[in-house]
């Protein structure tokens, strides 16, 4: 394994990012429950290794696309949590000036397109971005998040095929959290793994432990290097699980308590802690310091968001056309 390539600083950075993702989601949840945020939210607690492992393998000029469940992707990609929090609070300081909301957060200048809430809809956008990278001879790749539910959309099929025949620099990343809303993946697909579908397009497919941030990082790095060097796309399936319901209003009764409990034992953050506490380079003190600094960052973000101005009603009319 190439994990030896990761410096301790890098690993610690990844750890802090996972914490930031998780604690961001937890904070958003409580703000939402207090009625301080409008709209609906789809949370990703439990999927931090995926978000962080993927983003860690990306360069600044690379482009990420995301889904209706984008919070952790955006945090991991490095969009300031202030701008994300402000967007959730529908403020004009939000990353989309309050026009996007939870399901469309992103900032292309920081390497993430506004998230796409049409299941599968972001897949061709990432692929088109990859086409532009290749055409403009840029050294970049696009990375495309989607869920297990998205692989039954026609757009997945059409786009992965075109990326394959044109050897485009894009990495397709399926976060297989076993459910699309209430629907178990094995009831809507006969093959056992999503990655098995790669063979229909003649590209590599791999299934990876999506709750191990290092494995994710390595797999995406490898697929990314391949793509960057002109060898075309790959389909990575990250096996993971969301701890919360599909959206805020979902108690998740379609999943057994046992199943949820089992996956909680694979929590990517405690797994990381256990492993590196054992290896000795992580300490309780570091963990506490990390948590405290994340807490502070989130406090600042909430304060920033709450004290930011709302957009004016008539701003509704702006930004439809560029000219």
């Amino acid at each position: 394994m190439t994990s030896s390539l990761l410096t301790k600083e890098r690993l610690l950075g990844m750890y802090r990012k996972m914490l930031l993702c998780r604690m961001f989601e937890d904070r958003v949840n409580s703000l939402f429950l207090q009625g301080r945020m409008p709209g609906t939210i789809h949370q990703a607690q439990g999927q931090e290794a995926s978000a962080v492992g993927v983003c860690e393998a990306l360069s600044p000029g690379d482009m990420l696309t995301s889904t209706h469940r984008p919070h952790e992707h955006a945090v991991a990609r490095g969009i300031p949590v202030k701008a994300l929090m402000a967007e959730l609070f529908a403020k004009s300081t939000g990353c989309c000036h309050g026009k996007g909301g939870s399901m469309h957060m992103g900032d292309a200048e920081l390497g993430m397109l506004p998230a796409i809430a049409i299941v599968g809809g972001g897949i061709p956008l990432a692929t088109g971005y990859a086409l532009s990278f290749k055409y403009l001879k840029k050294p970049n790749i696009a990375a495309c998040f989607f869920g297990d539910g998205a692989v039954n959309e026609g757009i997945f099929h059409e786009t992965v095929n075109m990326a394959a025949i044109w050897d485009l620099p894009v990495v397709f990343i399926c976060e297989n959290n076993k459910y699309g809303a209430s629907t178990p993946i094995d009831s809507v697909m006969k093959v056992k793994t999503v990655s098995a579908r790669a063979s229909a397009y003649g590209i590599p497919g791999r299934t990876i432990d999506g709750n191990d941030v290092v494995s994710v990082y390595e797999a995406v790095s490898e697929a990314g290097e391949r793509a960057r060097s002109g060898q075309g796309p790959a389909l990575l399936e990250l096996e993971t699980y969301r701890f919360a319901g599909h959206s805020r209003s979902d108690p998740g009764h379609y999943r057994s308590k046992q199943e949820v409990a089992e996956w909680k034992t694979k929590d990517p953050i405690s797994r990381f802690e256990t492993r590196y506490l054992a290896e000795g380079f992580l300490t309780r003190e570091i963990i506490d310091r990390c948590r405290a600094s994340v807490e502070q960052e989130l406090n600042d973000a909430v304060e920033f968001a709450e004290s930011s101005p709302s957009p004016l009603p008539e701003e509704c009319l702006a930004d439809v056309y560029a000219e």
């Binding site: 026009k99 039954n152 959309e153 809303a181 629907t183 701003e315």
Partner: protein
């Protein structure tokens, strides 16, 4: 918004009160009991422990009818819509649904090029008895879970369209739609589902209405005069019927009597009722949440400008969403969705200006 609640409920009417969700569910259940060719198909509609569709309408139906008749699909809107078309051709009466109307664009080819044309292309030999249910309306979910898409389908020859504003109509129209031999788009407004149950909408209306226990069907093509008045005609659908009715109340207090017409079905459209009203009032305001340019209100204006021009005492006005995508922030969304105030102001300006 709470002012809106029950502006239409007539306290004098006695009887069992249901929400639109309950009324729709009852319509599905009755039709499924009556005719075993009726099946449901869509995402997350029947899973045990699940939602009963995005807004609980199908909750419990898989318990009674099993997974053969309440068919949970993969996330494949074009595919399952096309399968519903094929199944309808094969003799079933599928009721399909998309979780949000915004996703209808994914199934647009199957609806506009196939469902709507199979009968015609066959020289009249075939029929496509299917219903496609779709929730519309802006509810601070951002621009891809918010659109009111009626007008796109209004333009497809071969499709019929219902857009009920209350539980009584919802049940009666859905039962009729299921028995109809033509493909029907059935639009439901998220804020009219009611606020009961786990998936309640903030800002949702408590639209409980009397729904008789006895069976009834409501025909397509019959608009409803929700309120009579001689000064101006207001034509609206879905949530906007409620806003128009409230606006009419406010206007009445200021001496303007508005006639409010709930179109109920867009295809077929009850031109007679609208023309008759405009010929009496001489003034027309159309209200819809769908965006302005090319919205169905334009057609109403155009037909009136063709057929009733001699009766008009002023310009035809439309109160609609502006030509923008739907913004997320509530302040902007409230600007986007036509308000009671905008209706009142438009009517006043028209009647007095």
């Amino acid at each position: 918004m709470s002012m809106l609640n029950n502006v239409l409920a007539k306290p004098e009417v006695e009887g069992r009160k249901l929400s639109i969700v309950e009324a729709l569910r009852e319509a599905l259940r009755e039709e499924m009991r009556r005719d075993e060719r009726v099946i449901l198909i869509g995402e997350d509609i029947g899973i045990k422990g699940g939602f009963g569709g995005a807004f609980t309408v199908t909750l419990g139906l898989s318990d009674e009818f099993g997974s053969e008749r309440v068919i949970d699909t993969p996330i494949s809107e074009a595919g399952f819509t096309g399968i519903a078309v094929g199944a309808a051709l094969g003799g079933l009466r599928p009721v399909a649904d998309v979780q949000y109307a915004d996703f209808l664009f994914l199934a647009m080819d199957q609806l506009a090029n196939h469902a709507a044309k199979m009968r015609y292309m066959s020289g009249g030999k075939l029929r496509v008895p299917m219903v496609m249910r779709a929730p519309v309306g802006a509810t601070t979910r951002g621009s891809q879970h918010a659109q009111s898409l009626e007008s796109y389908f209004f333009h497809v020859p071969g499709l019929k369209i219902a857009c009920p504003s209350n539980p009584y109509d919802a049940k009666g129209l859905l039962k009729t739609a299921i028995r109809m031999d033509d493909p029907v788009l059935f639009f439901e407004h998220k804020l009219l589902y009611g606020s009961k149950g786990s998936r309640k909408e903030s800002g949702g209306l408590e639209v409980f209405g009397v729904v008789p226990e006895e069976e009834y069907l409501l025909p397509f093509g019959g608009a409803k005069v929700v309120r009579q008045g001689g000064d101006v005609t207001i034509v609206a659908n879905l949530l906007m019927v409620h806003k128009a009715a409230l606006a009419a109340k406010t206007l009445s207090a200021q001496g303007i009597e508005a006639e409010v017409i709930d179109v109920r079905t867009l295809v077929p459209f009850d031109w007679k009722t609208v023309f008759g009203s405009v010929e009496r009032t001489g003034r027309l305001v159309i209200v819809h949440e769908d965006t302005l340019t090319g919205g169905w209100g334009a057609e109403v204006a155009a037909r009136v400008a063709d057929s009733c021009i001699g009766y008009l005492q002023g310009p035809i006005r439309r109160v609609t969403a502006p030509d923008t995508p739907v913004p997320f922030a509530p302040v902007m969304e409230n600007f986007f969705v036509p308000s009671v105030e905008r209706i009142v102001a438009t009517v006043k300006e028209l009647c007095q200006g």
